[in-house]
């Protein structure tokens, strides 16, 4: 075991926040899916977003990534207020995400999935396509080299020319994460990256997330596997009924009666707490 860095615990902690949310709300009809969620995500750390089913975790990630607009509240990415910005503008600021159910670009090859990821490419301009072919060639060569390196790291290199739709569930998870890495995120939102994958792959994905952290990427991940949360996450945000219930290290939160009642007790009783 490596020794993990001391976590950034609370909203009042000393670590600089890369993402700050204040009073986010989102209702669907009469159901308040998110009901005043307020939290900070410390820069350069791995933070887990946990909570019972229906707590509003995925809705929060959807709001943060711009896939949904919040009814009220605000959020800042670094020093920029990104409240209800369009998705692609948020992504261009460096916030990438994965989806609960893997969403690959199915008709593209594995390599093309990665090549599509860099946020702004000179080759996406009609002018450059016809009048700056050398620039395109150079950029494409650099992107292919980087994508190849990432695919090798994630064990997908031999599948690079396969269509993404042909991959298995676990391979799709890896593809989605590696695609996000290719986009050079500053903040990476992972929606249940370990869900539905075998234990060996869970370990590998956990390792990749630690790699990201080592490279300066901040990670916010929704995860139910508390074993992995305890091992790789510096900080935990507990969400229940759309509200932030507590933040801190998981080992500390295990003694928090509210958290135990709302989530941990349920997990432990269900025997899935590992």
């Amino acid at each position: 075991m490596t020794s993990f860095e001391e976590p950034a615990i609370t909203r009042q902690g000393v670590d600089e926040a890369i993402l700050s949310c204040e009073g986010l709300t989102k209702a669907f009809g009469g159901v308040n899916a998110v009901n005043g969620a307020t939290f900070d995500v410390p820069r350069g750390k791995i933070t887990a977003l946990i909570g019972p089913n229906g707590a509003g975790k995925t809705t929060v990630v959807n709001i943060l990534s711009g896939a949904m607009k919040s009814d009220s509240g605000s959020m800042r990415l670094g020093s920029t207020d990104i409240t209800n910005w369009e998705r692609y503008k948020i992504a261009r600021l460096g916030l990438m995400r994965t989806f609960q159910l893997s969403r690959e670009l199915s008709g593209l090859t594995v390599l093309e999935n990665l090549l599509a990821a860099p946020k702004v490419q000179a080759g996406e301009s009609l002018f450059n396509i016809f009048f700056r072919p050398r620039l395109l060639k150079r950029e494409e060569r650099q992107n292919i080299e980087r994508a190849t390196e990432i695919l090798r790291t994630y064990g997908l290199y031999d599948l690079r020319d396969n269509r993404a739709r042909e991959l298995s569930g676990g391979q799709k998870k890896l593809l989605e994460i590696s695609r996000g890495v290719m986009a050079s995120p500053s903040l990476f939102l992972l929606d249940e990256p370990m869900a539905g994958v075998n234990p060996a792959l869970i370990e590998r994905i956990g390792g990749y997330i630690l790699d990201m952290k080592a490279q300066g990427v901040t990670v916010l991940m929704i995860e139910h596997n508390l074993n992995i949360v305890e091992k790789i996450c510096d900080n935990v945000i507990v969400l229940a009924e759309g509200r932030t219930l507590a933040t801190g290290r998981l080992s500390d939160l295990r003694n928090n009666p509210e958290v135990v009642q709302a989530y941990l007790g349920e997990v432990i009783n269900a025997g899935t707490g590992h």
Partner: protein
């Protein structure tokens, strides 16, 4: 020139013209996933504008139409393409931001019907239901072409235009821009999450495709010398869809094959067959039915088309270790941190 060769060159013209139209619809639907059920309206606008700008002033022609500037080929053709782009810009602003897939398709086919009614009833625009006729044959005066000579000449001109547009389209679809179009086609949410401004790229695709539609329409009116609303009934859009679905969505070679099979062999070749005794015009209806049946069979048994979209492979970076099969001989690298979180001594395995 014998009647046989006249027919052959007529078929050659339609082959190339529908190849152009298919390329335009393919970049919208096959590459970007925009179900443009109004495509024929853009073709029609291109045809009308090309005709109206190339004809002389309408006074004394017995027709009513706007423009009448006597602009020669190929500038009239370019103006037809640009007019279709302008219409596409307006339509995209109305529809693309908020609508997707089937809803977008419904709105577009409705807009096509609205446009059809306007052109059909507002006579001062493009001569209403009579349409434009006596459109000058391009370059006939320059080369002193007879009607018989004009047909093969213009079929070859259309072939040259198709070749140029094929080169342009290939360059676009092989570029990172083409890849982004396909990413949006596969999943616009994922593309947006990767920082792609989906509307901007869809708009770009609409404009490019509409230019091709307008040029294809412009060539049609110049070849036939006339164009009226019976030539672009909204259902004609589905003939172009049949071309790209039969040929192969997302593959330019497939589009040429689709234009050959559907437009040339199934639709225009039977038009030259003798009428069935006692049933004049029946062949036209039968070949429309045959196109429908072929379309259904293709969707059922070979949805990827005759020539499927090809995999885009890239050369391996320099220094890449590869065995004879082209696979890497180096094992996948493991995370530096896997050991830190491994709960037992077993080696991490590949993804299942």
């Amino acid at each position: 020139m014998s009647a046989f060769w006249y027919y052959v060159f007529t078929l050659v013209f339609f082959l190339f013209d529908y190849f152009i139209l298919a390329m335009g619809l393919n970049i919208q639907y096959g590459e970007t996933g925009i179900l443009n059920f109004a495509y024929i309206a853009f073709v029609a606008l291109g045809a009308y504008v090309t005709g109206a700008v190339s004809m002389p002033n309408s006074v004394g022609t017995g027709q009513q139409y706007i423009f009448g500037w006597g602009i020669p080929f190929p500038f009239n053709l370019i103006m037809g393409g640009v007019a279709a782009m302008v219409l596409a810009f307006v339509v995209a602003l109305i529809t693309l931001r908020r609508l997707r897939t089937d809803y977008l398709a419904m709105v577009l086919i409705s807009l096509s019907l609205v446009f059809y009614d306007i052109v059909n009833n507002y006579v001062r625009l493009f001569n209403g239901a009579d349409g434009l006729y006596n459109v000058p044959e391009p370059m006939s005066g320059v080369f002193h072409l007879t009607l018989n000579a004009f047909v093969p000449f213009f079929a070859l001109v259309t072939g040259a235009v198709a070749l140029i547009l094929w080169g342009v389209m290939s360059r676009i679809t092989r570029s990172p821009l083409g890849r982004t179009f396909r990413a949006i086609r596969d999943d616009p949410d994922v593309a947006a999450a990767l920082g792609k401004g989906v509307f901007r790229y869809q708009l770009t695709s609409m404009l490019i495709g509409s230019f091709y539609a307008g040029v294809g329409g412009g060539l049609l009116i110049q070849f036939g010398g006339s164009f009226n609303p019976t030539a672009w009934l909204p259902g004609e859009t589905f003939v172009v869809f049949a071309v790209i679905i039969v040929g192969g969505v997302g593959n330019n070679v497939g589009l040429l094959m689709g234009a050959l099979l559907v437009e040339t062999l199934l639709i225009h070749l039977p038009a030259f067959l003798p009428n069935i005794p006692g049933h004049p015009g029946l062949i036209e209806y039968i070949d429309t039915m045959v196109v429908g049946v072929v379309l259904m069979l293709m969707l059922w048994f070979r949805p990827q088309g005759v020539v499927p979209e090809r995999l885009r492979r890239f050369p391996q970076p320099a220094g890449e270790l590869a065995n004879r099969d082209g696979h890497s001989v180096a094992p996948p690298e493991q995370s530096h941190y896997v050991a830190a979180i491994t709960t037992d001594d077993s080696e991490p395995k590949d993804a299942q």
